[in-house]
């Protein structure tokens, strides 16, 4: 476990000092926690190990200012570091509005302290499991009592001003923080959180939020009364801080919620959301109850949990079915949903979304446009169309308005299917260009420049990169080689075709896998070209590997730690290749390099339609048509997996053949380059 670095950004106001206090306390506690209960490390550690990259992740998120519910991932409770990062970054990026105004600044600090509070809560709760541990903290809590009182006032005043505003974020937050610690309720909370992610803000939510606000207030009051009781103090402290955080979130959510309601169609129908939200609310109540009961015996606590179990079981079957069918390990990921609901609330005329974006979203979700390069090109062409049709509204600035619009579009696309790294990078590039656009040039000029920018991006980063890759890859293909490739990758496909055109004499083994059988597309292209091919499914790989001399794989993205993110099954191929001493070459354009760090396929992945697994192609018969009704059956259709760098001999990129580990270098150079521009 690494002790996070704390930097207090601004000490001018009270709340920030509080924040720093809390930070240091959390640090202390955690280090003690470490010593005291090494057994607990296992629960915290996996989360903490993420903290390094969570920083990056968080940065992106805070910049995007996504919905608060989404922002709260289970990574958050750990990343004290990132809380600081938040502020630093938000200062840097202007955080949307005027930073110098003290109001805004203090709000941010509240966020920080709120975050810290939750973390404190986490560590506290860990500890309260055994009374002995709690005692260790007693003196600390006493010291903090004063601070707490102040914070209570602050929170109360804030709640007062925003009585009607949103509180469900608070619950979500709470759930987050409690989830890893309390084993019994964990599953449920994860459920509701996941559902929370699905159901974004609607009017229905506001209702639930009001209720929740009331709930939380009550808890706060109770907590105030019992200030003398140390343990309740801890609770109330946690709640209050969470509350403050929630208030801040609420403001943001209210703003954005209004915006989103107008612009982006909700993923789930309102009805479903209501159901989910009811559940959320109940979860929140449970948290509140637990908060109050925590100082009491364990028996009571478990009784409380039972009670809630009963409560949730009241929910209509629909939601339960949905919930039940989430594979436990992958509950945190956005679940696959049919696109039926996506366009339901979109108008056929005069929609806020540009037609090309709606079309693209559907094409991506239906798999008409597939492959991360293709998706990126399709996105960029759609954006180009949008920019050409774009007219700056009066009293607005192109750079700001267009950026907001694009963000909105990306939101929609993200609902259709989680956005590929390639797309995200391309949009990042484009928005950077948009924000840097001088404000004094007129619309047509700006549009022209943007379109040019898009064209150069497609040309340089994708088209020419593809050519460069096939050139580099071609050098690695010799006569009489037997190249094994897995499913369909556009860059591998191009490389093989080009090598064949150069007159090289080699053979290709196309490995394919259910359910998508993308390999057939690869096979189609290669066979059309006249290349000698074998086609096997992935279960025949160990057999076929004996005659293979090279493995060439495509990649969805290359992580900063050198892990290759690619179509699920690639790591298996790489592993078998290693066993047979066959070198694995990965083809990846540098624009798909990601600054994220992942070490497993669980934390970040994409879930595809589980129905694909039980459907025959063409769909004449379904083997397990009613799989949703079979309680003991879960279907998991993963999209990607990660291949560790030590299984990959070389990455073939547009800037040459590199080892996996050179991703950070490439990114740094690229970043420096873009800074100069």
């Amino acid at each position: 476990m690494k002790g996070p670095n704390f930097k207090v950004v601004d000490k001018t106001s009270e709340s920030s000092t509080q924040a720093s206090n809390m930070c240091s306390r959390v640090q202390n506690e955690q280090s003690k926690d470490n010593k005291l209960a090494p057994a607990e490390e296992s629960t915290i550690n996996p989360n903490l190990s993420e903290s390094q990259y969570t920083l990056k992740h968080k940065k992106r998120k805070s910049k995007k200012k996504k919905s608060p519910i989404r922002t709260v991932t289970d990574k958050e409770e750990v990343s004290m570091l990132s809380a600081d990062g938040d502020i630093q970054l938000s200062k840097k990026n202007g955080f949307g509005i005027n930073l110098d105004s003290s109001g805004q600044a203090s709000e941010e600090k509240i966020v920080v302290s709120g975050l810290e509070a939750i973390k404190t809560a986490v560590s506290n709760i860990d500890v309260t499991d055994s009374i002995q541990k709690t005692k260790v903290y007693d003196h600390q809590t006493l010291v903090k009592a004063e601070n707490l009182l102040k914070s209570t006032e602050l929170a109360d005043s804030l709640t007062g001003t925003l009585k009607s505003s949103i509180m469900s974020t608070h619950e979500a937050l709470k759930e987050e923080s409690w989830a890893p610690c309390t084993g019994a309720g964990k599953q449920q909370r994860l459920d509701s959180r996941a559902s929370n992610e699905e159901g974004q803000k609607t009017k229905a939510q506001l209702k639930a939020e009001r209720k929740a606000a009331f709930e939380a207030k009550r808890v706060a009051e109770v907590a105030d009364k019992r200030m003398s009781d140390k343990q309740t103090q801890q609770k109330s402290k946690a709640t209050l801080r969470a509350e403050r955080r929630a208030v801040q979130e609420a403001q943001r959510a209210a703003k954005e919620g209004k915006h989103q309601l107008e612009n982006v169609c909700p993923v789930a129908s309102v009805k479903m959301q209501e159901v989910f939200l009811k559940q959320d609310h109940k979860e929140g109540m449970k948290d509140a109850e637990q908060g109050a009961e925590f100082s009491v015996s364990k028996n009571e606590k478990s009784a409380g949990v039972k009670k809630v179990h009963k409560k949730t079981s009241d929910d209509p079957r629909v939601s339960q079915q949905e919930v039940r069918k989430k594979v436990r390990l992958f509950r945190h990921l956005p679940q696959y949903h049919h696109n039926y609901l996506l366009t339901r609330n979109l108008r056929l005329a005069g929609s806020d979304l540009h037609p090309s974006i709606i079309g693209l979203g559907l094409q991506i979700s239906q798999g008409v446009v597939r492959g991360s390069n293709a998706r990126c090109v399709a996105l960029l062409t759609a954006l180009k169309e949008i920019i050409q049709d774009y007219i700056t509204p009066p009293h607005k600035e192109l750079s700001r308005d267009l950026e907001a619009k694009i963000r909105n579009y990306m939101n929609f696309l993200n609902q259709c299917r989680p956005v590929a790294v390639s797309m995200a990078n391309a949009v990042k590039h484009l928005t950077r260009f948009i924000t840097k656009m001088p404000s004094n040039i007129n619309d047509s000029e700006a549009k022209l420049r943007l379109c040019e920018q898009i064209d150069t991006f497609i040309k340089e980063e994708i088209k020419l990169a593809k050519q460069a890759i096939s050139q580099n890859a071609g050098e690695n293909i010799r006569n009489h080689d037997v190249v094994l490739t897995y499913t369909c990758s556009s860059s591998v496909k191009g490389a093989l075709c080009d090598a064949y055109d150069e007159g090289k004499n080699f053979r290709v083994v196309v490995v394919d896998a259910r359910p998508r059988l993308d390999g057939r597309e690869m096979l189609r292209c290669l066979v059309k070209k006249g290349i000698q091919c074998s086609y096997v499914l992935i279960n025949a790989v160990p057999y076929i590997m004996q005659e293979v001399t090279k493995v060439m794989l495509g990649a969805h993205s290359l992580q900063a730690n050198g892990y290759v993110m690619s179509r699920v099954g690639c790591s298996q191929i790489a592993l078998i290749a290693r066993a047979y001493n066959v070198p694995v070459l990965v083809c990846c354009e540098t624009y798909k390099f990601s600054e994220h760090v992942h070490t497993d396929s669980i934390v970040y992945n994409e879930l595809a339609d589980p129905n694909e697994l039980v459907t025959e192609l063409p769909p004449n018969k379904q083997t397990l048509e009613n799989w949703q009704d079979i309680p003991s059956l879960y279907l998991l259709n993963l999209e990607y997996d990660l291949t560790p760098p030590d299984l990959v001999a070389m990455v073939i990129t547009d800037i040459g053949n590199l080892p996996c580990t050179s991703v950070p270098v490439v990114l740094r150079v690229k970043h420096a380059g873009s800074q100069e521009v």
Binding site: N339, Y340, T343, R344, L346, R347, L348, A349, G350, S351, P355, I358, G359, L362, Q363, Q366, G367, V368, V369, R370, G371, N373, A374, V377, A378, L380, T381, K384, E385, Q388, D455, I458, I462, K463, K466, T487, C488, S489, S490, K493, G494, R516, L517, D518, G519, R520, E521, M522, R524, V527, K528, P618, P619, N620
Partner: protein
């Protein structure tokens, strides 16, 4: 804007001439609102703020008098087509070509449905289709509904539709009359689309989404007169023929050069993806096809799709029988087909003033005397129903007077009609401003201008 809406309301109602002599078809009341209100309401619910409405010239005044636009709160661009011309649907579209700037949604004025348009639009969007159409299972109750005033069954012209079931791609759409004994299907089409379902029980709902270039194509090909009869079958057929070898051989090239080359150019200019289109198709890793080594969609540039309604209600009030039946159904289905729209005052449900049930609608300003029995009937505005009148399954338009003690069953009474005392009418149509004398006993009769003042 993604789509422009065009409402085809210039139909003459050739299958219900008895009713349309005095009233343009699009204004015939269904549930006491003009028929055209339903498609407009559907459009409105799907976000359309304006629509182009094509009406015959002679009906223009009546249509504008009806103030439909205020009823649906939309901006309507009412286009009249000269009454001297007997134009088909395609010709009407050609006539308004200058108004069409984007893809169009074409809807018929007699369509009453609870269909959610986005489902069809999704098919259209997903496949960047050239044309998408709505198909609905024919509801037997409507087809076999007894038509008043008609002897013998109305002969229904069936459509034969071949559709690839899992994608919705149309293989052929033809009227029954286009085929003789067999339905031919080319072998290469079957290899590429091995699972084709052939339906004869589907109704074309006359709801089309059409690409802009197809309108341009219509403009260029002046010999096409109707959308359904001519444009649709030919475009669907031409999907599979590409003109790769320009000017090389065969007669189809002549035709194909118009459809396939132009669309190709137009699709690209329309979609503005021209420059990167090739790169995109090169990069795409989609594999969803059989039977050929061609690119995505077998290289077909023109793609037509159909969406078959799975459940829900879709009715076209284009024959006498279906018109009468829809009127009977409308009190029950009102909420679903109008998306819970507030009823215009005239369409409010009957009150229990007399013995009318929930299955009836009674218009504004209608006087109903005592002891009147109303069942499954629609009664328009300002009607006079005198004592002891019995109505069953009737459609009564505005300003109709029914005198004492009359019994009407399954009748349609056009506006300003008069039914004398003690009459008994069954399965009759009483035309506009017609009078039925006292104590008449009629069944299965049509009373029109020619037969003025029937006396028995």
């Amino acid at each position: 804007m993604e789509f422009q809406a065009v409402v085809m309301a210039a139909g003459r109602g050739s299958r219900m001439t008895e009713l349309t002599t005095g009233c343009p078809k699009c204004l015939l009341p269904v549930g006491n609102v003009p028929m055209i209100w339903y498609p407009l309401n559907l459009l409105k619910r799907n976000g359309f703020q304006e629509a182009i409405v094509i009406v015959p010239e002679m009906a223009k005044n009546e249509v504008s008098e009806a103030r439909i636009d205020t009823k649906v709160d939309m901006k309507l661009d009412i286009v009249t087509i000269p009454s001297s011309e007997d134009w088909g649907t395609a010709e009407s579209i050609r006539y308004i070509k200058d108004k069409i700037k984007v893809d169009v949604l074409i809807i018929s004025c007699d369509l009453i449905t609870d269909f959610e348009l986005h489902q069809l639009a999704d098919v259209y969007r997903t496949h960047s289709a050239s044309l998408a159409m709505l198909l609905a299972p024919v509801s037997l109750s409507l087809v076999n509904a007894p038509a008043p005033g008609q002897k013998g069954k109305h002969k229904r012209v069936r459509d034969i539709v071949g559709i690839e079931s899992h994608t919705g791609r149309l293989m052929f759409v033809n009227s029954e009359a286009d085929f003789e004994e067999n339905v031919p299907l080319r072998k290469f089409i079957l290899t590429r689309h091995p699972v084709v379902q052939v339906h004869s029980d589907l109704m074309d709902a006359h709801l089309y989404l059409m690409s802009k270039w197809l309108v341009d194509y219509l403009v260029e090909n002046e010999n096409i007169t109707t959308i359904k009869g001519e444009l649709l079958p030919s475009v669907v057929k031409k999907q599979f023929y590409h003109s790769k070898t320009e000017g090389k051989n065969d007669i189809t090239n002549m035709k194909a050069s118009v459809t396939s080359v132009d669309p190709k150019k137009d699709i690209h200019s329309h979609k503005k993806t021209g420059e990167w289109y090739d790169l995109l198709s090169e990069l795409s890793t989609r594999s969803n096809q059989w039977g050929s080594l061609d690119d995505c969609y077998h290289g077909d540039q023109v793609r037509c799709y159909g969406y078959i309604m799975k459940d829900g209600l879709c009715v076209r009030a284009n024959t006498l029988g279906s018109y009468a039946e829809v009127n009977r159904l409308i009190p029950k289905i009102w909420d679903s087909v109008t998306g819970n729209s507030e009823r215009p005052i005239s369409a409010s449900l009957s009150r229990s003033k007399s013995q009318g049930g929930d299955d009836s609608m009674i218009g504004e300003g209608t006087n109903i005397a005592d002891k009147v029995t109303i069942k499954k009937s629609i009664i328009g505005n300002h009607c006079q129903l005198k004592e002891k009148v019995k109505l069953l399954n009737c459609v009564i338009m505005d300003h109709v007077t029914v005198e004492e003690g009359s019994t009407l069953q399954s009748c349609i009474l056009c506006s300003n009609a008069f039914v004398g005392k003690g009459s008994e009418l069954k399965d009759c149509i009483v035309g506009q401003q017609q009078r039925v004398m006292d104590l008449s006993k009629l069944s299965n009769d049509v009373i029109l201008e020619i037969e003025k003042f029937i006396e028995i």
